[in-house]
Symmetry: C2
Subunit: 568 residues, 2 copies
């Protein structure tokens, strides 16, 4: 297994009958999964998701794959295949379809329903082709065969891509729960047939490659919920992901068993479960679902609220309940269940919510003290089964941070994939395949495209650096009004600071310092005029040094020079 | 067990012969541990630590307990007892001693050595009294007896405080490793004698009260390190806490076993280990320690670097190595061991470091893939032993978030402490005891005191709110120069923005909008003059609404009105 390559050149011009696998996201990061397959002038996109920002990207709403790499090729795209309905696989579809709405979307019924709900919000009408496991779509020069896989959302599909250059199995996210709630297992018989046909390149989900053993079955959670519900004296509030249909199903089942009604809470929860129920993925007996606003018509031990906010998102239902800022007021002996994972980076937010709920007297059940969550991704043991059944020639681990990709690559090698055939790379890496032989051919620059309010791609890394500086250090702005001709200061300096320790002993002496420094510079220059830029530099330097010495801080210094025509 | 009380009144004036236990930090938070015992006009302080900020407190260096509650009583303080040498127990001592340097510091030899190194940096000369387990100090009206406890730093002490109002056992941080490296166990015989004498009030460490079972012994780590060192083909770099003498000891032992030299790396690592070695807590054979700058004189398989940065701190040695920004350049097949916990909230930083090291080709061992860390705190099983041996009348769980305090209270109840005798509260809560009977008597306001550069207590929560807004949204500043008399705009508007998507289509139309809005207001007011404040309000409203509509963002709007005397 080679190292993760860095400083790769741009991939060369693609030759005839060579398949290029260009990764635009999801390698070396968890999110914005997108892969572009190219052969003889045609493109096939698999997944088009978003990445959620972390604390180093303050204020950013979403991060998109860099679509610029295909914007001049939109007419060559034969289809977008969507493996399943999670945001990190479908969230960027509207941003691509805005450019060309008639690209066909191909996916399972549920996946398409979820992406269409999203497209409606963006007022985009799409063309979609629903497929089922076993279906084969002719998307020349690609042929796609779909394979049932099991994940934490129903109706996920892997896609087997046949081309004249070679055959690729792209799993999407999956695990191998042998007793899934809907009986729809990852189809290892199908994998076996593909293995016998020959898998030249395998792109497996790496999320849990570091986790030894096997992901437990989702069904284990039912009895735990049942016990919790039996013992709950008052209201029960369960938080989970709003797309986790089977988790919600088990909450509904436990509620029915204990004679409780269920109210859905949170916009995405209501929307997704309505879709899932309509399409038959969620089974709800009559008279179980009630509207959130009717909850008060029932006794406290007659209701279950199923809500969003399991990751401590500050605006979601659960966080607002924990801080007393929701119409549902948490009371002593309410039971709260966080039936969800704890995504790394969310620990402080989630523990803040848990502590808040405990302070209000609630009993809080979470994965730290009860088995109320199982992962949606295959652990190392499951991945080994896949490698052995498929016997791929080449492996390109996807969907994970560097540590996950490397761990997955090691598993491949343990099952006999030759070290040189384990291809490692980060988002942007291109793998070229011809006659079933694959190699890394280069990489494209795969920068983040930030969605920030209404703006897409306008916020730059420099803006985020400014935000981090402003957030850590605050700013000091110094306004001086100068005569347009003489450049003498005619008003100001006017000093404003935010987020800085505003000590008079520091700020008051700044005013004469600025004036002095400017006078000095003007005199030095004598006949020559100072430009506004030079004046700004003088102010920035003078004040930066002064504050650095006095406060040991480095706030952003914003010198503003306004010109004024005295005779104006 | 009652709920965590909120909205407690201020504690009443303290009566004669009543002991007050005033918590100034460490309850409902992990850090700034400080408790003030008061009896008949005298105060005894136990611990005086700092809290490390989280992401909602950007730019803050440290958080102190609110010392204002005792600043007017400095002369009444008989001593500061320090249970052990961790920052969250000793870090605020310099800020208190600055106000009265001759308050006696009482602690074990190592604890005092560490606090004195810190005081030297603040140029404070202190008065200290070294004690050992078993010692009794007469600090009228308090009598303190010290008890050996075992923790992740050597020489930790619990303190048993005898007063005429009742007897209190204050554990400080501890666990009950039965095979500690230095043979110094938490002295359960001593606990037993105290239990027989009678513990009226017990203040136990709650950190691991949620964790079932027992914390494994530190000694388990030695063989794991030995195996890792045996298999390492090139350099070995171990990161851990710079005060964890026993962890460093085991690294040195493994290095000696494999014939490697050890170089210490990181300022606090070098300083603390030098103290520990001088005092005999760290045993280093001759010719094992080498200076970091001589590392290159040795073969790669002859050295171990022992460094700081196990929590992903961006400025520490390990992070800088991971980003290629350190004189030690990580190479293919170097072995890195993070022999440390992963403190909640640090996940993203730590994984960023791990991914960076892996990308450079290193092999990374951490608690996620090997048993290279054990906790320093007693788990639930150990706490049960304590409750049963001590049989305390009252319990006030300390040192933990709300979830930890509640879990610890439940353990107390399971061993037979009556529910009403489990006292729960957050920092600021006061417990009054008389004739061995204790109750919560109120609470003081226990706000955060922020250390930010050179400023202490100057940064307010409003400043931090401003920083968060600036960090998330950036700002737009609008400068207008107005004539002092007419209030007509004579120069500007001058618009500056940082951290905002600066689209011309949004910003350019703002200039006429501002002018229009101001003109309109001036005309409305006719004879009446607009104040600068009113003009600022108009600018803020106009621009805030415009940007909100155009960008769907809420940057901070800073209107600056500079007055200018036209005739000036």
């Amino acid at each position: 297994m080679t190292q993760i390559p860095t400083d790769l050149p741009k991939p060369p011009k693609l030759k005839k009958d060579t398949l290029r696998v260009l990764t635009l996201g999801g390698l070396g990061e968890v999110g914005r999964n997108m892969t572009v397959y190219e052969l003889n002038g045609k493109l096939l996109v698999v997944d088009c998701g978003v990445l959620f920002p972390e604390e180093t990207q303050p204020g950013v709403d979403l991060i998109l794959p860099d679509l610029n790499h295909i914007l001049d090729r939109l007419d060559d795209i034969v289809a977008i295949v969507l493996t399943h309905g999670h945001e990190d696989h479908i969230g960027a579809v509207p941003y691509l379809l805005k450019r060309r709405p008639d690209i066909p979307l191909i996916g399972s019924q549920l996946t398409l329903a979820l992406v269409e709900a999203k497209l409606q919000e963006h007022r985009i009408r799409s063309t979609s082709i629903a497929v089922e496991a076993g279906d084969v779509e002719d998307l020349r020069p690609f042929e796609c065969e779909f394979v049932a896989v099991n994940h934490s959302i129903p109706d996920a599909l892997a896609v087997f891509i046949r081309t004249k250059a070679g055959k690729v199995l792209h799993t999407g996210d999956f695990k191998m729960d042998q007793l899934p709630l809907d009986g729809r297992i990852t189809d290892l018989r199908h994998f076996s047939r593909l293995g016998e046909e020959g898998v030249d390149l395998f792109l497996p989900d790496s999320t849990n490659a570091e986790v030894p053993g096997f992901t437990p079955t989702e069904k284990n959670i039912g009895p735990v919920l049942s016990d919790v519900f039996r013992d709950a004296p008052k209201r029960i509030i369960v938080a989970s992901f709003s797309s986790h249909v089977h988790r919600v199903q088990q909450v509904i089942d436990a509620a029915v068993e204990r004679g409780r009604k269920v109210a859905l809470c949170g916009r995405s929860m209501v929307r997704n479960m309505s879709i899932a129920e309509k399409l038959g993925y969620l089974q709800v007996p009559d008279n179980v679902l009630i509207d959130l606003k009717h909850v008060d018509n029932y006794r406290e031990d007659e209701v279950v609220l199923m809500c969003t906010g399991s990751q401590g998102e500050p605006m979601a239902a659960l966080s607002r309940m924990a801080s007393g800022d929701h119409r549902i007021q948490i009371e002593q002996d309410d039971t709260i269940v966080l039936a969800s994972s704890l995504i790394p980076g969310n620990e402080n937010s989630v523990y803040r919510v848990i502590n808040g709920l405990l302070k209000l007297g609630a009993n809080v059940i979470h994965k730290g003290n009860a088995k109320v969550h199982v992962s949606g991704h295959a652990a190392a043991g499951e991945l080994l089964y896949c490698y052995n059944i498929l016997e791929p020639n080449y492996v390109l681990p996807v969907h994970g941070e560097v540590r996950h990709l490397i761990a997955n690559g090691k598993l491949a090698m343990e099952t006999g994939v030759p070290e040189e055939n384990v291809l490692l790379g980060e988002s942007g890496v291109a793998v070229d395949m011809r006659n079933g032989e694959a190699r890394i051919s280069g990489a494209v620059d795969c920068g983040y495209v930030y969605v920030d309010g209404k703006s897409v791609g306008e916020i730059t890394d420099q803006d985020l650096k400014d935000r981090r500086t402003l957030g850590e250090e605050g700013f000091v702005s110094i306004v001086i009004v100068v005569d347009r001709k003489t450049k003498r200061v005619v008003a100001g300096p006017d000093i404003h600071a935010r987020g800085v320790a505003e000590e008079d002993s520091v700020f008051t002496p700044m005013i004469p310092k600025i004036t002095e420094a400017l006078e000095e510079a003007l005199n030095e220059k004598s006949s020559k005029r100072l430009s506004n830029h030079q004046m700004q530099q003088i102010v920035r330097r003078t004040i930066g040094q002064w504050i650095g010495r006095k406060l040991r801080r480095k706030p952003m210094i914003i010198p503003v020079v306004v010109e004024h025509n005295q005779e104006g």
